[in-house]
Each structure stands twice: as structure tokens, then as C-alpha cells.
Amino acid sequence: MKLNRREFLTLSGKSAAGAVLFAACSIPEKELIVQSPVDMPEDLVRGVDQWYATNWSEGAPGDGILVRVMEGRIKKIKGNPDHPITREGSRTIYDTALQVHYNPDRLNTYKVRRSKKGILSNTSEAEANKLIFEATKKNKKIVIVTNPTKSTSGWVSKKFVQSRGGRYLTYDPLDQYNLYDALNDLFGSYDLPIIDISNSENVLSFGADWIGGWISPAHYSSSYGKLRSENRGFFAHVEPRHSITSAAADTWLSPFPGTEAEIALSIANVIINEKLVSDQQISDFLKIFPDGKIEYGYNPSDVEKRTGVSADKIVEIARKISKGKSVVFAGGSTSAYTNGKYNTFVIYALNFLLGSVGKEGGIILNPKVEVDYIDGSNKSNSIKDWQEELAQWRAGYVDTVIIKGVDLVYSMPNSLDVKGALANVENVISFGTSMNETLEASDIIIPETTFFQDWGAEIPNPLPGFKTISLQQPVVTKNSPGTKSTSSYVDKIIELESSLGSSAKSLVKKIFDNEFNDSDNGGSVKAGDKGGFLNGVQQRGGFWNIKQTSDQKTPRLKNPFKHSIENTFSTTNDSNEFHLIPFTNYLNNGKLANIPFAQQIPDPITSAAWQTWVEINSHQAEEMGIKEGDIIYLKSDAGEIQCLAYPHPAVQPNTICVPTGQGTLRGGRYSEERGSNLLKILSDKLDPETGSLAWASTKVSVKRAGGNKKFPKFEGTVEAFPIEPGFPILIVAPGETAHEAEKKNHHKYQEKLNLIEKDKNNNHNGISSEKN
């Protein structure tokens, strides 16, 4: 039997796995085939594991990860403790990348649609290459669409469209467009600052689920751990949804959606009125506002009526954060209303009042990092840009669209009608690791390598306060078990335009060669020559220089707002109207929907999995007659979807929270016909300031569809009873020992239990007094 190397690897994989699988019986189902490989790669020593440092550009951009490779296969991923972004942190979804790579539904053939109305059929790499080459000739109008990224692939995309005179766009569902815009106005840079939570004493956050999934959860959740160490800092969170960040907060405030700026101004109001901070800081803050003062009507009791947040809490928070090192920040749903930018701007401006800009424990501005061969943008294009762009597509002004890393058809709102636009583009070329709706609508499909097999470099977003470049290196070979004939995006584009370089590897090499030339003291890697330097970078997963920090001293403080802006909701003209708060869970807006590991992680709050559910207030649900697992329709002005109800106590009345990510129509056995696509029913409301989609400004009507399904959740279905109050999570007051708390709880518990006894005692008073 003749085998080439690739088949050998597959075969030995089969045999090893086969033997592993039948483990519980003493006789393996199949004899292990002992192969003697042709040559001996160093990571193929059986039983010896290697950890490689790399970076997952699409799933966890910027995070440094360590990948465990054994016998030529990827086994495990963890955060790189050495990397300044990840530090000791980690992202829950790291390990799901294994199944991006080893997905049974992974694409491994080139596909082509020969006529616009034809069907996709498999084709050879050579033919596909020919077609792609045709479609991207010099005279063609080309548009490249990717996920927001600042990396080598971004650089390649940008350079390529420049060489063809085309455009490069990015798209991200549930984007943070307003956040970038507001921060640019405040700090004069589109680079996000880093929030120094780990050194802070008081943290006040708005809308951003920064422990769960906002921008850089690995970094921020590790910061949370430090916030909760020794000098336990105070942490308040304002978000309509009860996310895990809300759960972690000492104080959770649930405002009416869209009123977050009022809370911030009210806090400012308290601080200014009570003169809790220095005059200098107050005047710094007030300078931002027209006429040097904030409008009237922000005293806490007025705000309580408009926001639903208790005035006492506002005052308490204001007093707390005005002492010590404090930081205030916003993101997520707060910046995704029609007044999203206003909200974000006002909230970040509070930092001037607290004097925490550019200071330890506050907001630390990041340097502008310009690196050759790394380009692109972390900020995606706004919906307004996209509306214009899609009009061009529809009009047939674009010959070729290259899409990578984003499922446009799935993730754009109904109102944009991407599918129709794509139908008018002559050549749609898509890269992907497995099928999705965009690939389904494409003309040429290129099976893409995963980040495990490819070279790349990326600038993390946000930077940790100094210059950092994350390295992505192949940890398994291109033809390792589990993958067949895939090609890297960067290499493919370079193939089409040879002036860009020779390969992704060469680009990365050039980047770090340049770094070696410029590296001064403070760099993370020290080496005598370029080769040694690159080796060092490969070992540590990137290069960073703690000396290269931001030199920006004076913020820009440009205020585009003359007056306060109210949020406006879309409407459905229905009596049962609810605010809809979408949120991203482990499925990463559908990117990981075909990954069983991602699908089956129970949502922390509801413990639900595998479905689209609706978090609804339990009291309100009871009034409406909605029980857990009831199938309900959500209808907005843009469409209607079906979900399962999950009533729980921590949702604001008249608000429902629904996760994105399900309802992908193509993608394989794990995601097809599962749940509903929430992104489709988002109303096309925009923030008029920036033109970005106000994805938290949709209102939906809730209607029972009749019918009830068993709700797929990890939580038990039988009602719980506690053994003792405080069990199993014992809560102690600061300074109290666990023993004391247990005793106290026990005391309470006994009181409860002795109710019967007490009744008796009431009848026989004489005995009871003796007993006590």
C-alpha cells in the first residue's frame, strides 16, 4: 500500500483515534497501524507535546494564545500568559477554534457557479485559480470586504484594491462604530484607549459586557481578577441586560434603554454640586459642554423618573467614584442607540471630571502604531457607507467582490438586501473555512486555511498602552490531518498581485526584520541577529515594547453636541411592545455557530444552549401567561422570528434580551435549522450623527405562538430548595470570616425551621421562656 505523506497522517490519525475511542474495552476495535513516517518532523514525537504561541486573528483578535500540538495535531488552546494583552486572562471561546479547524463540515474543495443562475459545483484548484485570475484583472472594479482587522491580511487587502483602483470595506454585526467616533472626538485618535481596570479602585461601566465579550475580554476579565484582589475595588455597572458583567458588579443599575447618558450626567451633577473633586477637574469637564455647563434637570430624583434607576444609587455611586482612582467607560448597547454616540461621548467625558485620563487606574491612551505591512481598520464601515456601497453593487458598477471573514448575507439587516446586491455583481469570490450564507451566494468559493496553518501579524485592539504586534504562525502543516487542499487568503491575494510580496511568511518576516532594526531598549525580544529575533518573537507570540507609549498629552475634546439627544425607538404599533437588547454570546454573532463546542457552552445567565432564547422578566411573563420554553414570535418593523421564552428575575420589565448567532442557514450539521437569526429583525434605525446602525433601538412585539418546547438548558427543571440560606455561595461582609457568616446563616435557618416550635411555644409560654 503506497501512501503519500498526507494520507499517512490521516491514516495514523484514524488509527490513533480509533484506538482511543474503543478505550473502554480491553481489545481495541482496530489494530493500531504503526507507520514509519518518511521523515521525522520534530513535533511528531509520539507522546511529547509542544506549545506554540500564536494569535487567532478572527475569533479573538489581538489575544496571544498558546496552542498545544501533539502528534501533528492541535489539542488545546490557552491564553498566553506572557502576552501583554492576554496576560493571565483567557477567552471562553479559545478552545472552540479546535473545531473550526477540525470541523466535519469544513470546506475542502473549490466551488464555482458557472452561470449566475446555476448551482455551485466542485472544481479543481487550477480552474478556480484561472477564474479568479480572470475576475481580478487590472481593468476590473474590485471591492474587498473583510471583518475589521488591523493585520497583514488587512494590508494585503488594502494594497490589492489600491492596485486595482477598488475599495476595501469591513463589516461587523453589532459593531462599536459610535465608540470609535466618540473617542476620536474626545481623544483625537481612532485607536481605542485601554482601560486600566486592574489598577483602578472604582470602576463604573456602561453597556459594555467587558467580562463576557466586549472588545478584549481576555485582558479585561483578567483585570477584573486583579480588581477583586487584595484591595477589593468598587465596581458598578449600568446595562439594561443582566450580563455576567452586571452579575459581577457590586451595584447593577438597569436603566431604560437609551437613557444611559442621563445617568452619567446626573452623576456628574452630584459630583459638581457636592464639589467632590477639584475645581480644576470640574472646569475641565464643563469645558466640553456648550456654554461651559451641563443642562439643568439632571438632579438624581428627576433622572430617577426618566431612567428607572434609583436616585440613592446615583448619589452613592457619584460619591464613591469621586474618591481614589476611578474610571468610567461605555460600549456595547450603550453606544448602539440612535443617541449612541452622544451616550458614549458623555460617559467617557466623565473621566475628565474624575481626572483619570492618562493616569494609572484610569483611561490610558494608546500610541499610534504604524507598522509596514500591517494595515486595515478595527473600526468597521458604518451602515451609511454600506448603503452607498450596496447601491453601487446593485447598479452593476462593481465587477468583482472578494469577501473574507464575514458572513454578509447572514449578518446584515434585512433592509440592506445584500443578497440582491450580490446577485448584480459579476464575480463574487468568497473565502471561508465552512459554508455560510454568503458563500452560498458567491460565484467562486475558496476553501481557506485556518489561523493554525497560516502566517500573519496583527496589532491588537486596544493596545495594552504600548506598542504591540501579535504574531500568528502556523502550528500545523497545511496538509495536516483534518484539512485538505486549503489555501491561505494572504497567499492567494499575493498570487494575484505579485508586487505585494512573495508569501504571507515573507511579509511577516519583513515586519519583524524591520522591528529588529528599530528595536530599542524595552523591547520584549533581544537578539543578536534577525534570525534570532524572529525566533524570539515566535517563542513569545509577538513583539512589544513597553517604552513606546502614547505621547499624546492634551485630548482633543471636540464636542459635536450642542444639546442632549434622546433615543428614538422603532415601533411596531403593537400594544405588547418590548425594547429589544441584542447581545453576542459564545457564537460570536454566528461565526462559531457550526462549532459544537461553542453551541454547547451554557449561557452563564440562563444556562441555555443550542437555541435562540428570549430573556423576559419573570413577573411580566407570568402576567402575560408565558412559561419557560413557550414558543414566541418577535416581530419588529423589519421582520419576524421565533424563539423560546426564558423568564428570569433579572430583566427589566418591558425589555427583552435575545442572543445573536443562531439561525445560520448554511454551515453544516451543527448549525442548520437551529434557532433564529436575530440580526435580520433589527430595525434600520441609524445614529444620525455617525450613520452607524443603532442595533439596540429596535422595539418588537411579543406574541405567543402557542406550543411549548423543552427548553434546552443546563439548569435543572425541578424547583430548588436551600439547605441553609447562603448555600452554596456563602457571602461574607468585608472583614467577616466564613465561619461567622455560616453561624449567622445557621441562626437564620434555625429560626425558619423553628417556626413550628414557636407556634407551640406561643401556646405554652412558660416552657418557651425557659428554653430560650
Binding site: 484514524k14 483515534a17 482511543v20 475511542l21 474503543f22 478505550a23 473502554a24 480491553s26 501533539m70 488545546k76 488552546i77 490557552k78 491564553g79 486572562g89 483567557s90 477567552r91 471562553t92 471561546i93 479559545y94 472552540t96 479546535l98 477540525y102 466535519p104 467580562i211 475580554p217 476579565s221 483578567s222 477584573y224 481578577g225 477583586r228 455576567i244 457590586d250 447593577w252 428607572g308 463546542f597 454547547q600 451554557p602 452563564p604 444556562s607 441555555a608 443550542w610 437555541q611 428575575p649 430583566v651 427589566q652 434546552p712 438548558k713 443546563f714 435543572g716 427543571t717 439547605i723 452554596p728 455561595i729 456563602l730 457571602i731 461574607v732 461582609a733 468585608p734 470570616t737 449567622k744
Partner: protein, 248 residues
Amino acid sequence: MVIENKDRNWGMVIDTDKCTGCNGCVIACQVENNVPLNDQNKFERGRVMSWMRVERYWEGEFPEVKARFIPIPCQHCANAPCEPVCPVYATYHNNEGMNIQVYNRCVGTRYCANGCPYIVRFFNYWEPIWPEEMRNHLNPDVTVRSRGIMEKCSFCIQRIRRGARKAKEENRELEDGEITTACQDACSTQAITFGDLNDPESKVSKLSKDDRSYTLMPHLNTDPNVIYLASIKENKEEFQEEKANSHD
């Protein structure tokens, strides 16, 4: 010899105050230990397998409501109720303070699972389904269990063995913190600490003597090796009021 003669007592300290409930430990454990995929049916039938689970408890009513989380792995009780009931000695206590589950010995009576008050033992109701491709990412250090047997958290014994072997080959003692469990690696907030409770200098034994330490269900006298640190109530004033009330 793989194991050193030194009697160890592996233990874990989990700080519930730091736990955010992100489920990172759950998935990390699942990947490390080849725990079968939980399909939707398993969620609907209450057969979800996760050696580490994060329980969520509600406290209070809206708006003063709070979700609290507690991660629960096998408690590795020194006085484990699951051990005496197994008819075939498939589960027992070893000299490293761990409660061991021997998969190839297990006949699947599920008696141990009834004995366990923490319900951390899981039964393979079905043969685990791993599509051909996904078998590639199975950890070769850990047996893939078939249908019909019990399994549970092993304190990542494969990592302990690997670490101890390495130390032995390098002719040195195991250092504190050298061996980490998968859940510990995945915990962003460093809420999980793992180490030798017999070593008074280890981080874990110092933490286990913290004022906030407690164990689950002490009234059953199971003497767990997993020690929890209590969460902290932020509101000091309220607490003092309560304290004043409780003393009358």
C-alpha cells in the same frame, strides 16, 4: 516510578468572589478531558456532562437582583460517599488525596452517582459521538470513555503525571504551581488555585486557611479537597446593621 513516595494531598481553592461565571473553565475542562459533546438532546433530557459546572443562583428581586456563580468540580472528598458503595472498586481514594475513577473497571451501576451529594459524577448514556475529523483534537493523554461508565473530574491527573514525570527526569522536586489544571489555566480572573494541601508553603494551602474559606455541605462530613472562598458583600453599612440585629 511515576509517583514520588511523598504523600501529596492535591487540593483546589476556588474564590467565588472572583468568579465571573464565564464558563471558561467548563469548556477548557471538556477539551482537556475529552468529555463528550453535549448535543441539544442532552440538554433537554438533563444528561449534560461537564466535569466542571458553573451553577448560577438568583438572589433578590428586580432591580436589587444578582446572579451569583459557583464553579463545582468533583470535590475529591477525603471521606467520599461514592467510594464505599462501588461494588467493583472502580472508584477509590489514592495516596495523593484524589478520588480516582477507573474507567476500565467500572460496570456502570451508577451507585456512586447516587452516593455523591454534589452530583459531580456523570454517566455516559450514549457512546460519545466524535466525527472523524474531531477525533484529531482528542487529548491522547486521557482515555475516551465509552457508553455505560461513570466519569468525573480527575483534577487533571494526566497533567499531574506528566509534571511529576518531568520533575523526576530532571531530578528535582515538583514546584508549587508547576502543575496547573485545565480549568485553572482557563480562568481569566485567577479564581482557581491548585496545589498540594500537605505542603504548608504552597499557595493553595495558604489560601485554604483564609478567613473566607469554607467547604460545601460540611454537615455530611465528607471533608472535601475543594475549598471555596466566600464572596464578599459590598455593602458594608447594610452588613453592620444586620450584625447589630442578629445579636439581640
